[in-house]
């Protein structure tokens, strides 16, 4: 595979088809944890990290499942393997680097059931990416997720000073902002390709 196609996978995953704003994956943390800038950054980093692990795991599982000819086990094995790998990695980080653990810590177990992670694994399998492409795809998707989360957090911090009508407070206004952000990201559609 050439350099160009790796680059276009990256741009496509992070900007053009942003996981949150175009595929609606990971909306729960997007609406839930985007209140504060620092939390949003940490959450984004944790998700990127888990995506990288999940991507490599999913690639391995897929080879194994093709070997034993059992595609119907795909979903169940993806989710079990991803969840347990994240658990092991969490313990490993706690032992090796307490500073990193404090940064990612609480978010790691939470994001195992984040649909963005499983979505990533399924997409890369459906599109038949090889190992390097999968890793680049995971990196792009993770950074795109982080970008969306940080943008959202920035806007919401400003929003605290604004006067929002009573009926629009909370989820409704966040959704409107997300809609406008999603429109903005449409502007990237001409990139790459």
């Amino acid at each position: 595979m050439t350099e160009q196609s790796l680059w276009s996978i990256f741009i496509s995953a992070s900007l053009i088809n942003n996981f949150v704003l175009a595929y609606f994956l990971g909306i729960c943390p997007f609406l839930g944890v985007s209140g504060k800038f620092t939390t949003a950054t940490r959450m984004g980093l944790a998700v990127t990290f888990v995506m990288l692990i999940a991507s490599v795991c999913a690639y391995g599982i897929n080879i194994l499942l093709t070997l034993i000819n059992a595609p119907y086990l795909q979903l169940i094995s993806y989710i079990v393997v991803i969840a347990s790998t994240v658990q092991i990695v969490e313990m490993f980080i706690k032992k090796v680097s307490p500073a990193l653990f404090r940064t990612l810590g609480i978010f790691l177990p939470l994001i195992t059931t984040n649909c963005a992670i499983l979505g990533l694994a399924l997409f890369q399998t459906n599109r038949g990416y090889d190992l390097i492409q999968s890793i680049v795809f995971a990196l792009g998707a993770g950074l795109g997720f982080t970008l969306a989360l940080i943008l959202m957090a920035g806007i919401r911090e400003k929003l605290e000073l604004a006067e929002v009508p009573n009926i629009a407070q909370g989820t409704a206004v966040s959704l409107i902002i997300a809609g406008i952000l999603s429109l903005t990201f449409m502007g990237f559609a001409g990139l790459g390709s």
Binding site: L75, I79, V80, A83, T113, I167, G179, S182
Partner: protein
Amino acid sequence: MNTKHAEIVVTGPKDTDEFIKGLWAQNPVFVQVLGMCPTLAVTNTATNALTMGLATAFVLLMSNIMVSSLRRVIPKQVRIASYIAIIATFVTAVDYIIQAINLELHKSLGAFVSLIVVNCLILGRAEAFASKNNIKSSIYDALGMGLGFTLALLCLGVVREILGSGTFFNLMVTPTNFEKWVIMLLPSGGFFVLALWMLVINRLKQRRQEAKD
């Protein structure tokens, strides 16, 4: 400990209440804000929305029955993992069923059928309700929540399809000179329509509150 708790809950509200709460007071989408990914992603047409809603309702019903009947067998420490395994089994089944019935529909839903596994609504009901209640009330709970979820998805799907492509379940309903709102089919349309529905529901609630005061 677990069984004692279960009995207390069972003697509380009636089964019909368990059913009705999912439709309005605890509607999964509009009130609890659970399962947002499919809500926004596949509601560009009413058909997709209905399929997704029914598929989710089916998985919810089956997993609630399983979790509720196994609630004394599953050890507490591994309960979440067991729930996910149960849910993933039924989702795989649904995925193959949809593929068998209508291949085109399966293609337009894409990976989102598989993603029912991580719909927080299903795991949420398993953990919060089915693991503590008997099979009968779990069935009512699942039916109510599933129907509430399907209705909410339809609310979005119908609006987006009529405005975005001028059709209703693939039937032409608008005059031929109707200017289609392309934005409704785009991702941002999903966000806007859901926000509008939330505004409507918040307004209704507010009015009810005012009437009470």
